[in-house]
């Protein structure tokens, strides 16, 4: 059975052994790694035009994608003055439910293209107004 003081002695002897690599070689290796790290920094600077090219290509791709999306025709199936559910679970039920006011709901649309009806943050209707006001 090992006694604590035996362990201390063994541990001190084990931890206190000289390193396998001599101090001179270790210092030389550290300096070599420092110089190699400096060389990598210089190489990165030399690669900077490549990074600029890559960045320009990415920007062009983003701009092209945005332009393409803007050029797409409007979504088919939506007509002026028609209330349309957005596909969210609550919207379908809300579309079929009668409004509490009983009558048609008039929404002043002014010159808006689209009027969104939100119920506690959930989109319920989309109105596409025709002549300055939207009606459900």
């Amino acid at each position: 059975m090992h006694q604590p003081h035996d362990f201390d002695d063994v541990f001190c002897n084990w931890a206190g052994r000289p390193p396998a690599t001599s101090a001179t070689d270790a210092a030389r290796a550290v300096v070599a790694r420092l110089q190699a790290a400096g060389g990598r920094r210089q190489a990165a600077v030399r690669l900077s035009p490549a990074w600029a090219t890559l960045l320009a290509a990415v920007l062009l791709l983003v701009a092209g994608t945005a332009s393409f999306i803007r050029s797409l025709p409007p979504v088919a199936g939506l007509r002026t003055g028609v209330a349309t559910g957005l596909g969210v679970p609550n919207a379908a039920a809300a579309l079929g439910a009668p409004l509490k006011t009983g009558g048609p709901t008039m929404v002043p649309a002014r010159d808006a293209d689209v009027v969104l009806w939100l119920d506690e943050g959930t989109p319920v209707y989309v109105f596409l107004p025709g002549d300055g006001q939207a009606m459900r």
Binding site: G16, P19, T21, A23, A27, V30, L34, A37
Partner: protein, 111 residues
């Protein structure tokens, strides 16, 4: 010359890599002993070297050059503890993989 008589600290702070090499050379044995007492034989010198590189990178943050020794030893200690945690995590993963390893599914269960 810094208060502890080590002019190489000041030279290293001004970017002299050779001076930093001399600093490492004089302290190497102590660095490795400290690292070895935490991470064991295999990784001790690697940890000490990594700590020296980190020390070089952070040398401008050293507020008091007279405390270079304790500062460097603290970097070695921190790196060694981090490496020891990683060793423990790795060994736990290996043990878990070994326990869940099924010889039959590996095609080695031949009787």
């Amino acid at each position: 010359v810094t208060p502890n008589g080590d002019a190489d600290v000041a030279r290293a702070r001004s970017g002299d890599q050779a001076a930093f090499g001399r600093l490492v050379e004089r302290r190497w044995t102590r660095l490795v002993r400290l690292a070895r007492s935490i991470v064991g034989d295999l990784d001790a010198e690697d940890v000490a070297q990594d700590a020296c590189l980190a020390c070089w990178r952070k040398l401008s943050q050293l507020a008091d050059p007279a405390r270079f020794d304790s500062w460097l030893m603290r970097i070695v200690f921190t790196r060694a503890v981090r490496r020891a945690r990683w060793q423990r995590l790795r060994s736990a993963f290996v043990v878990r993989s070994f326990i869940s390893w099924d010889p039959a599914s590996a095609g080695l269960d031949r009787g």
